[in-house]
């Protein structure tokens, strides 16, 4: 697979991208930001491939998916015909309340059955495969019986979904839960459809260092190194550089994406 890297399409950059049409591998949008007003995004389809990244489907909700929201996401996917559709291994809704956070799941057989059922419903509604992203975790549950990579591998096996491997999230979760990032290299590589890269913040919480997945800076050296290991292990995939907080000039974002593509290309060439 060619080393392709893309960027997140954010509102402050929209006019510049529409005018300049800079070269980049693909554009990613958050589904929930474009359910109603999507014509400016649709107008870019002639020049760019799209990735639709949902943030609010709440695939870990014990009560199943919000069918009204699912129908709106399905309509957007139909209009945009993106190359990839994804959401996270997390939950955000309980009862009728939406918490606007990607909340962690216990990695148990019970939770696995819930996520498998919800992912199957999503794939059925969209009529296509979706990819599920490993989350950034700040806490783990004592009752978990599976590791996150084991949980993801079983999810793939039982639902037929793809994996969106967020390399920054691996680094954040491994640090915060004192796990080994290399554990994620045991994932079923053939199921990985996309990589994500992003910057994180290093915060001090009462004398203890916690990494916060804030998407607010360049990708850290440690994450670039882990990305190289990931590409060595699984090969090239389309790679997204995410930047949401303190959004930089478009040129900076394009530079980071170009670096991701060159790392991917170099490692894959060496492996060949």
């Amino acid at each position: 697979m060619d080393p392709v890297a893309g960027i997140g399409l954010r509102a402050p950059h929209l006019a510049e991208i529409a005018r300049e049409r800079p070269a980049t591998g693909f554009l990613e949008i958050h589904a929930e930001n474009h359910l109603e007003r999507s014509e400016a995004v649709e107008a870019l389809r002639v020049d760019y491939a799209f990735s639709v990244h949902a943030v609010g489907l709440s695939l870990g909700s014990v009560d199943g998916l919000d069918e009204a929201h699912l129908a709106r996401v399905a309509a957007l996917v139909k209009r945009l015909e993106p190359a990839l559709v994804s959401d996270h291994l997390s939950w955000s809704t309980f009862g009728s309340r939406y918490f606007n956070d990607l909340l962690p799941l216990p990695y148990t057989e019970e939770a696995l059955a819930v996520v498998v059922r919800n992912v199957q419903r999503l794939q059925e509604a969209l009529g296509r495969q979706v990819s599920i992203e490993n989350p950034s975790c700040y806490l783990g549950f004592a009752q978990s019986t599976l590791s996150e990579p084991e949980f993801l591998a079983e999810l793939v096996r039982q639902s037929g979904c793809g994996l969106l491997l967020d390399v920054n999230n691996i680094a954040v979760t491994a640090h915060n839960l004192r796990l080994d990032a290399r554990d994620w290299l045991d994932l079923p590589g053939q199921s990985i459809t996309q990589y994500h890269l992003a910057g994180h913040a290093v915060n001090d919480a009462d004398g203890e260092t916690i990494l916060i997945d804030d998407h607010g800076s360049r990708v850290s050296d440690g994450v670039w190194a882990l990305f190289a290991d990931v590409v060595d292990r699984f090969g090239c995939r389309p790679t997204l550089v995410e930047w949401d907080t303190d959004l930089p000039a478009l040129s900076v974002l394009l530079e980071e994406a170009a670096r991701a593509a060159s790392v991917g290309g170099r490692r894959a060439a060496r492996a060949a």
């Binding site: 809704t93 309340r97 939406y98 918490f99 148990t108 700040y138 549950f141």
Partner: protein, 248 residues
């Protein structure tokens, strides 16, 4: 005995909502410290979403005061669905009833204008009437037409000079004071191709548009306006603004 997923999510949700601390144990730390990260994120991110939807309210009261107002609202009214552009419908009424805003009696109207602009921006593009759509119609059929307002078109009336308050709240606005006694306004909020916007209306125009919004015919709505009302100019203006709905 591990918590069933439903009980775990219920307990987690209760914590996020500011209710009881759940009996959860994290593997590394006492859960409370790590759970707070999620609660802080929820409050911060929903507060940011409200600030983006109500930028004029925030400019009027400042970021610190707005954050407190937003947190009080979030505490009693979490989103019921995931699209944050649709969160905050109850905020203007909340502001109207909040003791902290009692010295700022215009603040709820400012919130209504912000909410109307937000709705207009996200309204569908189609369904707008153009003059050419009516060209083939015999003139004597025009008075009985019932047109209605295009998606996102809303009339916001206030006894305060909302347009001047809005202008004074924009980044880089002059430091000139705004006279709150300058009189009320009737603003028509509407969707445009690249943004949402508002224009000021005369009393007659506002009465005419309010009539159309209630489902009156053009003739009946014109009867609502005062004597100085220029029907021809107003109808042309509304068509030019794309404020009217395509005939059914």
């Amino acid at each position: 005995m591990p918590l069933a997923l439903r009980d775990l999510q219920k307990a987690f949700a209760a914590h996020l909502s500011g209710e009881d601390q759940p009996a959860l144990v994290a593997e590394i730390l006492p859960a409370a410290q790590r759970l707070r990260i999620h609660r802080h994120h929820m409050l911060d991110s929903l507060g940011s979403a409200l600030a983006a939807t109500f930028p004029t309210v925030q400019a009027v009261v400042g970021a610190d005061f707005f954050r407190r107002l937003a947190r009080a609202f979030i505490g009693q009214s979490l989103p019921s669905q995931p699209v944050l552009a649709e969160y905050g419908a109850g905020f203007p009424a909340f502001v109207a009833g909040h003791h902290a805003a009692r010295d700022l009696p215009y603040l709820a109207d400012v919130a209504r204008l912000d909410w109307a602009l937000n709705l207009a921006f996200h309204a569908p593009a189609d369904g707008r009437l153009a003059a050419a759509d009516l060209a083939a119609l015999p003139a004597d059929e025009l008075p009985s037409l019932r047109l209605g307002l295009a998606p996102g078109t809303v009339l916001v009336a206030s006894p305060y000079p909302l347009d001047r308050i809005w202008a004074a709240s924009q980044p880089g606005a002059a430091a000139d004071p705004v006279d709150l006694a300058a009189g009320g306004v009737r603003l028509l909020v509407l969707r445009r191709p690249d943004d949402a916007a508002f224009v000021a209306l005369s009393a007659g125009e506002a009465a005419f548009i309010a009539g159309l919004g209630e489902g009156l015919s053009l003739e009946e709505a014109a009867g609502r306006a005062d004597t100085g009302f220029d029907l021809s100019a107003c109808f042309a203006r509304l068509l030019g603004l794309g404020a009217l709905a395509a005939a059914q």
